[in-house]
Amino acid sequence: MTITIVYVIITLSLIGLLSAIVLYFVAQRFRVVEDPRIDQIQELLPAANCGGCGFAGCRNFAEEIVRRESLDGLFCPVGGNETLKLIGPVIGQEAQEQELLIAVVRCNGTHANAPGKLEYEGIESCYFMHALFSGENGCPNGCLGGGDCVEACTFDAMYMDGNTGLPVVIQEACVACGACVKACPRHIIELRPKGKKDRRIFVSCMNAEKGGPAKKNCDVACIGCGKCVKVCAFDAIRMENNLAYIDASKCTLCRKCVSECPTHSIWELNFPERRKKEESSESKTVMAS
């Protein structure tokens, strides 16, 4: 009995040794020479493979960094500036501090503000609804409430608010990967700078119609009156196609436009309460607590 065990041990050990030798030579023969920095960088990346950097996955992003030998024009929204600071030394470059972006839903057509005139029946797909008709409340540029953006988000940073019918961005979780922006057929979501102290001001409307039809569909539509443009001392607002747009790079968050807007179409986020009473509906972004 014991001699059998000895034979077994010897045979298996020999097989193991033989395999190891063969594998060693095969591995050497077929080795793929790769820049070791790619692996190094990939280790530092968050491995979310979300595509927010614009490349297929974290490995592709690492390859691109090494290929370019620089970080210029490249950013990982999930890892953020901390990750870039760590990657910088690997390719011998000082990482530039980039501005943090966040997804902003530029529509305030809640059920209360833009009451539905029709009842939609069918699949919950904004893509489909957009092609079918202008929307339950009639606004051809407004949010349809189907949730394509929520579905596209891989970071659990969005949810649909049942009371308003609009999507909500969870500030802490959003990494500005841009998936929701691509998913929205009406291009309502925009990546805007997070702002100092997370404060942002934006025109919460995408309506390109003239004032009359716009107001018929939604109480808080931008009617293209131009008052905000006039009152802005920093030339940050421009009017195009009956719609105002605030340039975040010029905006100093003075909030004059917010008070000037007759339809309360311009939104301010994460500011302290003013002395005057605001009819603020639910906050557009929520602190994940």
């Binding site: 699949i123 797909s125 893509y127 489909f128 008709f133 202008s134 009639g138």
Partner: protein, 444 residues
Amino acid sequence: MLMKTFKRGGVHPPEVKISAGQPIRSLGIPSVCTIQLSQSIGPPSRPLVKKGDHVKAGQLLAEGPSFISANLHSPVSGTVLKVDAAPDVSGYKREAIIIQADGDEWMEDIDRSTSLKREISLSKEEVINKIKEKGIVGMGGASFPTHVKLMIPPGKQVQYLIINGVECEPYLTSDHRLMMERGEELMVGIQILMKALGVSQAYIGIEANKPDAVKHLGKLSEMYHGISVIPLKVRYPQGGEKQLINAILRREVPSGKLPLDVGCVVQNVGTAIAVYEAVQKNKPLVERVVTVSGKQVSNPANLLVRIGTPVSDLVEAAGGLPEGTGKLINGGPMMGKALGTLEVPVVKGMSGLLLLPDEEAKRAPVANCIRCGRCTQVCPMGLEPYLLGLISEAGKDELAEKEYVMDCIECGSCAFACPAGRPLLDNIRKAKSKVGQIIRSRSN
């Protein structure tokens, strides 16, 4: 006698042809006429008039900018109020020419007499040019520019002309009335089309639920050489182009190809009559017959209306909007488009206006797929709607393309037959749109 029909699938929705006995009556001239610039497949037509211009009925208002597009003519005489965006059937605003009607003055070169003109004095090329000039498009609902269908590319041959008098959709009866009341003009129109195509044989397909039309046209066709009437079994979608060709000629249009590839061209009866008017009377396409119907409508009717008439006028003429109306539909209940409002204008492809009561229109609650296979059994194109629905929900668009989703004719038989009330056609349409985008991006 075993009647001809298409081989695969199909459903039999209740026919409800309540307006079949109503003779066509003219609704007259609307006070404001809104002519949408995008009424046919292809890019929107380019307007040739501007605010303040005086126009006469039949005058050219807009030109089709490319090969596959159509001209637009004024249905009324009056003054152009504006060229501006106006809501269309989807609720989106699209460019339209809005005219304040005044009187009924027509262009001098249009023959408004109603006598039958049998002799066709134009040559084949002249006929096609005239059809293009007068803005004739398919009147069955798809609004495809007719002259494009008649121009045969080199290398293709056409043997037969098929005239679609099937009208398989429930409720719709406009084609039926046209066949009964304007049969002779239809025959001459068919002859004109035969001349344009260079064919010697034409078939008129009529569903067997219109025995009077079968008989009437059957008798007339004896006087016209090369035209035969084929009665067809009552089954939806008998009037679908590919199904009709399969029923009459026993040929199947291959996937991704056109009827021309099996040697035939299909035209609707309304189109044939419009062709007659264009070629024989020099009259452009400015009016059409619209069936206004619904189980609770007081006066279901087949109304001859000018293009651009507000739909609310038609509803009024049919006795007003019934209490408890759930849906307004442009077209038939199986393939038509739901309207969000009555303030839309009649377009060239509006074959019917249905006012469905809430109980009929409301969708059944959606349940799990029970894999009964009915959708697969009724699909006339041999597809598997349950599978396409699943693929679409999962977002796998490349797989949808492999499963031939682009072959779907969107007839709605699958969703009609599904016991679980699943939104099959919604999902298939979504997949088709996404696959269409992929295909377009490939060729760029």
